[in-house]
Symmetry: C2
Subunit: 430 residues, 2 copies
C-alpha cells in the first residue's frame, strides 16, 4: 500500500515483474527515482532484480530503465576538449584485463579515452580492483582533474563519480551480492546508462559469450549487443560491438596484480597472443570511430608509444608505474599428472577459483586481495609433460587454497588431441 | 566468495535456488543461522526468497527450513500447566477475524489456547493489528504473564516473543515488503516453525483457497495443508487442517477495528453466518484434539461463556473491552446502480482496497490505521435494490479512497441470478 505522496508502491512493482507484467515508463521512472531516494529499500530492489532475472524485461522496459538510470544523476560532457572521446566497455570475462593496455594504446593516437570503470562483479574481476594493486594509484579523481588528464595524457581509468547514474551504482553493488548479476536487461541498462551519461561520443562494446561470460550463449550475447548498440545509437553515441569468445580465460593471469603485470607485458610489446589480438582489434574499432580507420595499434604497442601513455596515466593518478606489485603470501602449483595435450581449461571454474582465492568479493564491504589469483602456465592445445606446472594458485590465506582447488575439479583435462581452434572474435555489430 | 570462517557463501545459495538446485540440510542450516546472525543480509535473503517463490523447494528442503527456523531460537513448553494446549492457525484471508472469537470460545471449555499471532502480511490483515485497535490492549506480554493468563483465563492472543524462531520473524517481515509472501514453501515453514517451537500439543490449521487466499487453487492448498500436517505430526504436535473457501470476504467487515466489532457480535451470539460457521467448526476440531469431541461450541457462543472469556482475555492484556473502538475520519458508501442480485464480491480486490485504505502496510515500519477498512452491506446472493448501500469505505486519508475504489473496479456485480452456493469448508485433513 502506497503512501499518499507516492505515485506507486514498490511491492506492486515487484509483484508485477514476478507475474511477468510489463512495467510502464512512469512505473520504471518512479521505481528508479524512489530507489535513489532510499524510499525503495535494498531488499525490495534485490527481490525485483531476481524477478527480472528469472522473468526478463521487454525491450521497451530496458530502454525506460536505462533512461531512468541516466536521469537519476548528472550527465557529463567532453565538448570543448579538442579531442574525440572514445570509450570501450567489456561485459566481463575471466582474466579480462584489456582495458589496461587498451586505454593508453588508443590515447597514444591522440584520441581521448574516458574509461569510467567498476569494481568486481561476480566471478569476473573489476578494472579498478586491478589498478588499485599498483602502489599509490587512486580510482577516485575529481571531474576537473579527469578533464585535465584527458587533455594532457589522453587516457583516464577511474571510478564513475557518485553523481553519474547513482541509481545504477547502487543497483550494481546490490546485484553483486544478491545473485542477480546475470540478468541481461540489468546488464544492458547498467552499462549503457553509465556510458551515455558519461558523455562519450563513441563507444565500442566487447560483448563476451561462452561459459566464462554472463552470456553463455552466442545468440543471447548477440541480442544483448544489439540492444546496447541500439540504446547507444538512439542516444547519439556512435556504438559498435565485438562478440568475443570467453570459453577459456583470457591471457595467462587471473587476479588483480597478476593481470596488471600481464598488461604491462603487452604494453612492452610482449604478452599472450590472445590479449594482444583483442587489444589490437578493439583499438582498431575505437580508432575507426575516432576518424582514424587506418591507424596501426600493433605498431604503437611495439614501439613503446602506448607504454609511455600508460606510465603517464598511472602517475597522473598517484600510482608508481615502477613500484613492485604486491604478491600473495601463499601459493600452490598444480602439475600435469600425465603427459599429453591440454585439452580444456574452463573459464568459469578458473574465475570462481580466483574469486575464492580472494581476488573478488562476497559482500559489498569486503576488501579484495591484490596478490590473490591464478597464473596459468599452459593454454588449451599446448603439449604438456608429466610433472610440468599447469597453473599456480596465489592467496593471502592458506585455507582458501583447498576451496579454490575444489572448484577446479574437472575444470581442465589432458588428452591426446588438441581442441578445435575457436576464433576469439565471433562477430561484429554496428 | 566466502570468508574462511563461513561454511558457505550466500551468493552461491541464492544462485542455487535461482538455478533450481536442491539445497542440502547443511546449506539450509547455515543460511538460516547466518541470516539470524546478520551475516546474510536482508537484500540477499529477499533475492533468495524471490528465487524460492518462482522456482519452488522440495519437500525435504521445506522440512529442513522448518527445523532450521525452530533451531534459530528458543522452544517453549506448556507442560505442567494442567491443561491441554490447542492452537489454531489460518493461512490468511480477507476479513478473517476468526481467531478473535475462537480463542476465548475454546478456552471457555477449559482448554488452554496459546495463540501466538502476527501482524499484517500482504492484503490480509494481522490478528495483532486488529486487537491493537482496542484501547490499551498490548500484544507483547512476558512468558510468565502468558503462562499465568493461560492458567487463569485460558486464552492468550499475543506476539511471538523475539526468542521464538527469530529467523522466521525476520524473514516474515521481509517477505511482506518484498513481494515474496505467496511462496508455498515459505508459508509452510513459517507457520509450522512458530507453532512447533511454541510447544502446543495440538494444532488446527485453517488453510484457505480461492482468489482471496495465498493459494488460489484448492489442490495447491491441499498440498500445503498436507505438508504442514506432516511437519506437525513428525514433530509430535497433533495436527489437522480444514480447507476453507476464500472466494468472497469472510463476514461483513475488512479492517482492524471493524473486524473486532464483528467478532464481538459473534461472541454476543450474533454476527454473520459464515463467521459463526467457521468459528464453530474450528472450535469443534480443536476441542476434539483436546479430548472433548462432543462439546458444543455454538452453545458457548449463545450463552455468553465465550464472551466472558473474551472480556477477561482483553482486560488481562491491558485492553478495555467496553471502550469505543476507533473509527476512521473519512468514509464513502457505494450504492447499487441497479436492482437485482449481488452476483459476485471478489475477496482479493476487497482485501487490496482495505489495504490501500490504510488497514495494511507497505513497509515494515509503516503504521496501520485502526479505523480504516470496508463494511459490506450485502453478500453474494442477496437481492439489492437500486440506490441501496453495497459497501462503505473508511479511511483516515481522503486521498486513499479513490485509489481503493479503483481497485474495486469489476470486483462486484449485480445480475439476475444468484451465484451457485459454495460450501465454506471444502475438505478436512488429519
Amino acid at each position: 500500500m502506497r503512501g499518499v505522496t507516492e505515485a506507486y508502491d514498490a511491492v506492486d512493482l515487484i509483484i508485477a515483474k514476478r507475474e511477468k507484467r510489463e512495467l510502464t515508463t512512469a512505473e520504471i521512472d518512479w521505481l528508479v527515482d524512489a530507489f535513489t531516494r532510499g524510499y525503495v529499500a535494498d531488499e525490495q530492489m534485490s527481490a525485483w532484480a531476481m524477478a527480472v532475472l528469472l522473468n526478463g524485461m521487454t525491450r521497451s522496459e530496458i530502454r525506460d530503465l536505462t533512461l531512468a538510470m541516466i536521469a537519476s544523476g548528472e550527465r557529463m560532457s567532453f565538448d570543448g576538449l579538442g579531442k574525440t572521446t572514445v570509450d570501450k566497455h567489456s561485459t566481463g570475462g575471466v582474466g579480462d584485463k584489456i582495458t589496461l593496455p587498451l586505454a593508453p594504446l588508443v590515447a597514444s593516437f591522440g584520441l581521448a579515452v574516458p574509461q569510467l570503470s567498476g569494481r568486481g562483479l561476480g566471478h569476473t574481476g573489476g578494472t579498478l580492483d586491478k589498478l588499485e594493486s599498483i602502489p599509490g594509484w587512486r580510482a577516485d579523481i575529481a571531474p576537473d582533474a579527469m578533464r585535465a588528464q584527458l587533455r594532457d595524457v589522453g587516457a583516464v581509468i577511474c571510478a564513475a563519480g557518485a553523481g553519474l547514474a547513482p541509481a545504477d551504482k547502487r543497483l550494481y553493488a546490490l546485484r553483486d551480492t544478491t545473485g542477480t548479476v546475470e540478468a541481461i536487461p540489468l546488464i544492458a541498462s547498467s552499462i549503457m546508462s553509465k556510458k551515455i551519461a558519461e558523455g562519450t561520443s563513441a563507444l565500442v562494446l566487447d560483448v563476451k559469450f561462452g561459459e566464462g561470460a554472463f552470456m553463455k550463449d552466442l545468440e543471447l550475447a548477440r541480442e544483448l549487443a544489439r540492444t546496447m548498440v541500439a540504446l547507444g545509437t538512439d542516444a547519439g553515441v556512435a556504438t559498435s560491438a565485438l562478440l568475443t569468445d570467453m570459453t577459456v580465460p583470457l591471457g595467462l593471469t587471473i587476479g588483480n596484480a597478476l593481470e596488471v603485470r600481464e598488461s604491462v607485458e603487452v604494453l612492452a610489446g610482449g604478452g599472450p597472443a590472445d590479449v594482444i589480438e583483442l587489444t589490437v582489434e578493439l583499438a582498431r574499432a575505437m580508432l575507426a570511430h575516432g576518424g582514424l580507420p587506418d591507424a596501426d595499434p600493433a605498431e604503437a604497442l611495439a614501439d613503446g608509444r602506448a607504454m609511455d601513455v600508460w606510465r603517464r596515466m598511472i602517475a597522473a593518478q598517484g600510482g608508481d608505474p615502477d613500484a613492485p606489485l604486491p604478491t600473495a603470501k601463499e601459493s600452490e602449483t598444480v602439475t600435469a599428472p600425465s603427459s599429453g595435450i591440454l585439452s580444456s581449461q574452463h573459464a568459469l571454474p578458473f574465475g570462481i577459483a580466483a574469486w575464492r582465492l580472494g581476488a573478488g568479493r562476497a559482500r559489498q564491504q569486503d576488501p579484495v586481495s591484490a596478490g590473490a589469483g591464478i597464473e596459468l602456465h599452459a593454454k588449451p592445445g599446448d603439449r604438456v609433460t608429466k610433472g610440468q606446472p599447469l597453473f599456480t594458485l596465489h592467496s593471502d590465506e592458506e585455507a582458501r587454497i583447498p576451496r579454490a582447488l575444489a572448484s577446479l575439479e574437472g575444470a581442465w583435462a589432458i588428452g591426446e588431441v588438441a581442441p578445435a581452434a575457436r576464433p576469439l572474435i565471433a562477430d561484429r555489430i554496428s
